[in-house]
Symmetry: C2
Subunit: 217 residues, 2 copies
Amino acid sequence: MAEEVILLDFWPSLFGMRARIALREKGVEFDMREEDLSNKSPLLLKMNPVHKKIPVLIHNGKPVCESLIMVQYIDETWGPESPLLPSDPHERARAKFWADYVDKKIYPALRTIVGEAKEAAKNEYIECLKVLEGELGDKAYFGGERFGYVDVSLIPFYSWFYTLETLANFSIREECPKLVAWAKRCLQRESVAKSLPDQYKLYDFILSSRRRISLNK
Amino acid sequence: MAEEVILLDFWPSLFGMRARIALREKGVEFDMREEDLSNKSPLLLKMNPVHKKIPVLIHNGKPVCESLIMVQYIDETWGPESPLLPSDPHERARAKFWADYVDKKIYPALRTIVGEAKEAAKNEYIECLKVLEGELGDKAYFGGERFGYVDVSLIPFYSWFYTLETLANFSIREECPKLVAWAKRCLQRESVAKSLPDQYKLYDFILSSRRRISLNK
């Protein structure tokens, strides 16, 4: 059966990046459709009527929403020979725990920093990254020797490091050297390199978005 | 091998309830240990050093944290003859989507209502419940004829309905009759009935917690 795989996406999206990486890790061909978030397509509204957000993965006409659920779906559906989640239930739960940590702790702190560059949010962000760095330890990837689920969940945030460091005047690189080394290791994978945007392009985008917002005030 | 299953829990916890229900659905014997959250046990701090929160499932000495991850772990580990998640990847993703919706939309709105009984939060809460009611439709359970993952995720919130209705003066029962009928259906299951606290006991507990907080101000 010919498969149709569409990803409704928006290039700076951390969550979209996760889906792109996972699909590429599995060698799945997909049609990435860039959404205009100020004028969402009828397809997006139809496929994600609850949240109306990207990314949405549409596989043979059926939608899958929410990036971590999407990565799990991709892992279950394609390429069992290159699993993203470990097969042992306890190890699976552990990987899911850290991906959940990224969503619950790292993402909200990033939003606050981008919004207002508050000192407390910076400290919180660094502290949470350090917790993740502790979990990484001296391993190559979060799951050990293989690139996997937690790596997919976290690596998109690396593309935002330059923006955060510049906007909020702090150095993630100095604070979390092991994590930066891990990110560079991940970036050697084609799936990751192809899926993350250029950090300077992202910075320009955020800066011009901020200007637009402040002009509209 | 003799299994040791411990649940570090606190009886009013919505998330603890999920774990209790899932374990009972699978017929797993477990030792529920009530935590004093103002004086957390060394075991809790050791087993969940990141969030230091209940519930924590400890299976043969290894911890599993975060209630939805826990329910998935329980589903993968015990009783394959009575699965909580569907086997089809797309249906699995759909069930996970709705459980995620409960955590992202229903829980924050509940917290705001309990905290301050704001009008906007009430409306948001009812609206989100109605979205879930729409998803339920005329089915017996969220997954169809079988009690499953989304049911486990949402049913604990029913035990808080009385508290919310009384504190915030609104009627979930009138607004969402199908959802209430579903909840009563779920409560006929021993796993659910044994795991949810008495609604009046919960109300008294919340009321006295609020009084304690306001006395301490």
